[in-house]
Point group: C2
Chain length 495, copies 2
């Protein structure tokens, strides 16, 4: 008996007893051929398993391919050492724990940091991912040269710099421009192909196949309008991305993200992997959180500016990561946010900027002009600027501890752009909630039991990155590739 | 075949095919005899169903009994009308939608407001709950007299007063002191008893009984160390409270609440109802949110004070609800929060106050003294107080729009108490996440399908109250009693 496809929903696993014959059999089934799925498949294969990948799209890459594919690694990678960057497992660990705050998963962060150098070596030596032994020294969202190392989080910013020795850990591939994702996806695909791993494109994973005890035995996929029952002798690894393209799930779980403007991901990020996992008894956690950003640099000089809210008050040290700033922008009472800076610090804004915020006011002769134009409470912005300037002159920021590197008095003429959520500024976002997993990738029930035969990785799982407030670029592709490997290996070597 | 009890976990539903004989049979099984469960049972009975209640504790009442049992009702209740209070469904609706923000459930809020007068009449006429036709006119967390109506939310505060006509909607039972919960629980129990509804105390609900299609047919309970299989011909209503007493679930889902100090609830609030629902395919939503409070009034005069953060900045209008203030306290960067007020406004603090915060500094001759004692950035508090006072003199608060009623300049001597989370101040909390349900109480899967035969109410469900930032006292007991009735009626009348 097979249920008609139109009735199959991800949360309704097919019962093993309904399977009269398998259409395909292998050891490890990987659902999704993005960054996580590719790494899961490669690692499963290299650990002795027969592997099949089923991918909804017509080609591989997923959201990883659409990204810069910077990877957050540290603790002394080859590039860090070659560039004379000091880093350690402990500093990386302390930074990721502090920046993710109380929702950090200590075991995952620990494994990620302790495994980082090995992961770098695997990417370079096993897969052949090229990284130049060089530093991209600018404050930037991504490197547009072929240089490698850049700061991609809030490592140098308060309060994190006080907790852990900062180091640049964003590893940009050796390719000109923002083309890391395409190159990384190409290398992953070549590695899958040369291993002879079976790949089915345009194959939609419909639901899991489970037994009376809840153990997972396979996957129902649809290929050429037909259901195929695929047996996974050792395990199914769900690598189907997050749910940023599923508006109903966003509304239900992560309404905070609806204040942002631009979903980042591929059309397959519909949450289907999360739903399949839930249907098999898995627990979804951290579903309210996501990455969100207000990408106000480049130009880096805007870091000399200040963000103010509807009260004309600052609320953040402006030298921290754009995602952290974006997170706090969404929390401001009244939801009005302006970036105020000396006109000279706008450089050639908006050219070369991602922000897309409109100019909302200028101050030629006094801050009061700008305050008035922005309809801020009388005196509020003047007071904020006076206090800021008096201390910036001393290279101090007693309120938010912005680094002296970015402290200089705001000088007339000033200008302000309107970064209020929903008023034109670019707020990209994606989800950070997903299936609760062990470091091994094993999917857990709400009571913390392992679901036998079921694994998840990448944004289908809830991994190392847990909040925009502590995000750093490269941590999602880093987590996807790292967690994909863990899951692939666990499935392949399951006893 | 019955699985040994020690192996039974809430998330492992028992399969119907394993049931060889039922130990008990009824139409509607209610798990939990708190406020929600009692109302579910009464309403199910009054709609023609045979009902059984299974309660873990040795008596009824649950967390409702431990509360003030204020109930949030409006739109023109008898008491409101008698006291000349104007209110409407639309004002109540607009307030609850605005205060709950983007995570509000519009259908639930709509039903709650449209049904509010009828719910009041049911409580008074059907159950016999006494409310005096009087107003308790003070700004307070609860009424300590037998008067009825009080403001228990942020209705009169910015920005809500701009959105909806304020009205007092907290209905305090006609009983002296904070004894509403005991009286309400007594009345509920008497109503259950006089209907002849079967009640089993010291009966632990273990897990649900489901069939191949996922429909719910009964409940496994443990009574006198023995498992009993209870058939529910029409439905099981889960009214087992929230998960505030389950530290592992708090850590996994709601780490924000770990910044608070005192769980509010009864020992049975372990999340077992949520877990049972999840085991049967139900979706848990809003699991990160909770009620949290910093109960700084009474004395109401402290509303004349200001809350400042580690930057010496205000962040809230101090005339809003203590739960909303508590929520924002937990969000402040640096997690340092002080309540600064004229010494005279402290009255006889700490006597009669719930806050328990320690005095952290005083200013006899200048604000600078206090700023220094609190180790706030030099000039920051002075600037904040100067700006506040200059406008308070004009009965204005251009930053946060505190009502003129509470605006008077801060006058020396000043004192400050330390409300920083984790430094002694009382931060009570409970959870607001639970099973996703329809207005009817039907439990939904992650894809929004109804699970046949399964209902949830009270804090086992995710109901009207969704965030401390928009909370109002009486909304949880209000939601428990209202949603309990909906679920009881739905189960009883299921086709």
């Amino acid at each position: 008996m097979t249920t008609p496809e139109h009735k199959t929903m991800p949360t309704h696993p097919r019962h093993l007893s309904s399977v009269t014959a398998w259409d395909m059999e292998t050891d490890v089934v990987v659902a999704g051929f993005g960054g996580a799925g590719a790494c899961a498949a490669i690692e499963a294969h290299d650990n002795g398993a027969a592997v099949m990948i089923f991918e909804l799209a017509s080609d591989s890459g997923g959201s990883t391919k659409l990204s810069s594919a910077e990877i957050y690694m540290g603790a002394g990678t080859r590039v860090q050492q070659a560039c004379g960057i000091e880093d350690s497992v402990e500093d990386m660990f302390r930074f990721l724990m502090a920046s993710n705050g109380p929702i950090a998963d200590e075991a995952k962060v620990r494994a990620y940091c302790e495994g980082s150098v090995e992961h770098f070596d695997w990417l370079t030596k096993t897969l052949g991912v090229p990284y130049k032994d060089s530093v991209y020294p600018h404050r930037a969202i991504m490197a547009l040269t072929d240089d490698c190392l850049l700061y991609t989080g809030s490592e140098k910013a308060w309060p994190f710099a006080q907790t852990a020795q900062p180091a640049p850990r964003g590893h940009n591939l050796q390719v000109e421009g923002d083309n890391g994702g395409a190159l990384f996806a190409k290398i992953l695909k070549e590695n899958v192909e040369k291993r002879g791993i079976g790949v089915h494109f345009e194959a939609r994973a419909l639901t899991l196949i489970t037994d009376d005890e809840g153990a997972v035995h396979g996957l129902v996929v649809r290929i050429d309008q037909q259901e195929r029952l695929v047996r996974a002798r050792r395990g199914v690894v769900l690598c189907c991305g997050g749910f940023v393209m599923n508006e109903s799930m966003l509304r239900k779980h992560a309404p905070m993200l609806l204040g942002a403007t631009q979903p980042i991901g591929n059309p397959g990020d519909t949450g289907s992997g999360i739903l399949m996992g839930q249907g098999a008894g898995g627990s979804a956690i951290n579903m309210h959180e996501g990455f969100v950003s207000v990408p106000y640099y480049p130009p880096a000089s805007l870091t000399n500016g200040i963000f103010v809210n509807a009260q004309g008050q600052r609320f953040i040290n402006e030298d921290c990561y754009h995602g952290r700033v974006g997170y706090y922008c969404l929390q401001q009472p009244g939801q009005r946010v302006f970036l105020v800076a000396s006109a000279s610090d706008f450089g050639d804004y908006p050219q070369g900027s991602y922000l897309n915020a409109q100019f909302a006011g200028t101050a030629e002769e006094s801050v009061a002009e700008l305050e008035n134009e922005l309809q801020l409470p009388a005196g509020s912005l003047q007071q904020t600027v006076a206090y800021y300037n008096a201390h910036a002159t001393q290279a101090e920021d007693p309120l938010f501890h912005k680094s002296p590197e970015w402290l200089k008095p705001l000088e007339l003429p000033l200008a302000a752009v309107d970064c209020s959520p929903g008023r034109g500024a670019f707020y990209p976002f994606f989800t950070l909630g997903g299936l609760d997993t062990r470091v091994s990738g094993e999917v857990l029930t709400p009571e913390g039991e392992v679901i036998r035969g079921l694994y998840a990785a990448g944004r289908t799982a809830c991994g190392v990155p847990r909040t925009a407030a502590g995000y750093c670029s490269g941590i999602s592709v880093g987590d996807a590739s790292f967690s994909g490997r863990q899951a692939g290996r666990s499935a392949a070597t399951r006893d």
